[in-house]
């Protein structure tokens, strides 16, 4: 293994990390919005059981206000945020075989990585979006309502743009964490930066590859922070 080969392997590892990062964001950010809507769902199919005079017993009230979608999404988010991402990756990768005996092709490794990351990050983004949406003053909804905006117009034109500005700081945190989390793909032996660097370091008994990996993550995050700061600046024209 000469220097050129090592550099090429490290470079491929970097590309793989950047790809995991980009595709995870691409999938998890919209998915997070869907999850956020589920989390905020007020659908209560048994609401008709509530008495009109408001004199409901505890049990009746509990059943009448039961919101199945919100309940299920809440549990899913709790699991996704409450267990290690590394464990979730293993479940997504080995689950189909151990649970259902399904043999998946080699290419499933990448799909499993992306699935695991996207679902996990969607749960975090969902809670950030929800906090953002709920922080918009009710007067914004009321003004839009009286002007004749329907629900979808109100969300797209009035709420969403203001939400994006408000959630940028926590989203930046998540994105920076994701850069480093991509290294967790090593548990599925997917050849991203960290996996590659570790292999070379072991083969060459040298710390250099790991050092290169460290520098890579640092520079990657430097770029990410720079881009997010630019976006924040671009949105600072209003308060």
């Amino acid at each position: 293994m000469n220097f050129v080969v090592i550099m090429k392997q490290l470079f491929d590892g970097m590309s793989a990390s950047v790809m995991i990062f980009a595709l995870t964001l691409l999938f998890s950010m919209p998915l997070g919005l869907v999850v956020a809507f589920g989390r905020m769902s007020k659908w209560a199919p048994l609401g008709f059981l509530a008495k009109e005079d408001g004199k409901n017993g505890f049990l009746r009230l509990t059943i009448a206000t039961f919101r199945p979608i919100q309940f299920i999404v809440k549990i899913i988010i709790a699991i996704l945020r409450g267990t290690p991402l590394m464990l979730q990756l293993l479940v997504v990768f080995y689950g189909p075989f151990y649970l259902f005996g399904v043999q998946l092709p080699r290419s499933y490794r990448l799909i499993a990585v992306l699935l695991g990351f996207s679902i996990n990050y969607a749960a975090y983004f969902a809670e950030i979006y929800r906090a953002g949406i709920e922080s918009i003053p009710v007067g914004q909804y009321e003004a839009a309502f009286v002007l004749g905006y329907n629900k979808s117009q109100t969300f797209r034109k009035i709420i969403l743009p203001q939400m994006v500005k408000r959630i940028l700081p926590p989203v930046t945190n998540e994105v920076i964490t994701l850069v480093k989390d991509t290294s967790l793909a090593f548990v599925l032996a997917y050849a991203e930066m960290f996996t590659v660097a570790k292999q070379i370091a072991a083969a060459k008994t040298s710390i250099m590859p790991l050092f290169v990996a460290g520098v890579f993550y640092f520079i990657f995050n430097f770029v990410v922070a720079f881009v997010m700061e630019r976006i924040e600046k671009a949105l600072s024209y209003y308060r």
Binding site: G54, Q140, E142, A143, L147, G148, Y149, N150, K157
Partner: protein, 253 residues
């Protein structure tokens, strides 16, 4: 022509009866002021009229079209989505705290609703919006953002935003209560100018002199009922009911 008619409106929040059998009608060009102590239900009445709250009982009628109609037991039955959408075009509401859209410039705040909701041609809407801004003394502010304006300027923009939809009737809920006393005057002047142009308006206000000077009809509410109503001079200078007298005495030095 009656622009707005509310018949036997009832509204409860839980066990709290906030509006009790309120009836009110507003003809074209009329300016009605609603006065009364805090918690008397003035805002709730305006919110029912603007569909922000649903009445429990009674009729709500704009230009002869029923937004809600009482059934045999008096329960308010609302029209379907399409009907309400049409009826919403008849009224506008100016909020106490403006509720401008902070991410839009002044001109976009005013022009987006008529273009997006009213489906009116862009050029005409922009021309009208600039006309409105000029009238409000804000011709040079069209590209400013709400946070760059004073409270009084923001409230004038919000009045322009409501007017741009060409409502038949405009509601104001304490339009000057969030403003410093110096800024109150500029808003009251704008409303007076609108009254002079025979804009139909319903104004909830704590400015008694203003209510007396600008309106054709004053309603005094207390405890969810209309205690006394009539000619502004009569009500404000010579109230008949004890509760009205007690309330108004607090405004006289």
């Amino acid at each position: 022509m009656k622009v707005l008619e509310i018949n036997h409106c009832n509204k409860k929040f839980g066990d709290n009866e906030v509006l009790k059998d309120i009836s009110l009608s507003v003809s074209e060009g009329q300016v009605v002021s609603i006065i009364g102590p805090s918690g008397s239900g003035k805002s709730t009445l305006l919110r029912c009229a603007t569909l922000l709250e649903t009445m429990d009982g009674g009729d709500l009628v704009y230009m002869g079209e029923y937004a809600a109609k009482a059934d045999a037991e008096g329960k308010a039955v609302y029209g379907d989505k399409e009907a309400l959408k049409g009826i919403k075009q008849h009224f506008g509401l100016v909020f106490q705290n403006f509720n401008l859209f902070p991410h839009y410039s002044v001109i976009r705040n005013i022009t987006e609703p008529p273009i997006l909701i009213g489906k009116r041609p862009k050029e005409a809407v922009y021309a009208e919006a600039r006309e409105l801004l000029k009238k409000m003394g804000l011709a040079d502010k069209e590209n400013a953002y709400p946070h760059q304006l004073s409270g009084g300027q923001q409230q004038r923009v919000s009045i322009a935003r409501a007017l741009a939809m060409k409502p038949k009737i405009l509601f104001f809920d304490e339009p000057t209560s969030a403003l410093d006393p110096e800024l109150t005057g500029e808003i009251l002047k704008v409303i007076k100018d609108l009254a002079a142009e025979h804009m139909t308006m319903v104004i909830v206000t704590h400015e008694m002199a203003f209510a007396r000077d600008v309106s054709n009809h004053v309603i005094f509410m207390d405890g969810g009922v209309i205690v006394e109503e009539g000619d502004p001079m009569e009500i404000i200078n010579r109230p008949q009911q004890e509760r009205t007298k007690a309330f108004l005495s607090r405004f006289r030095q």
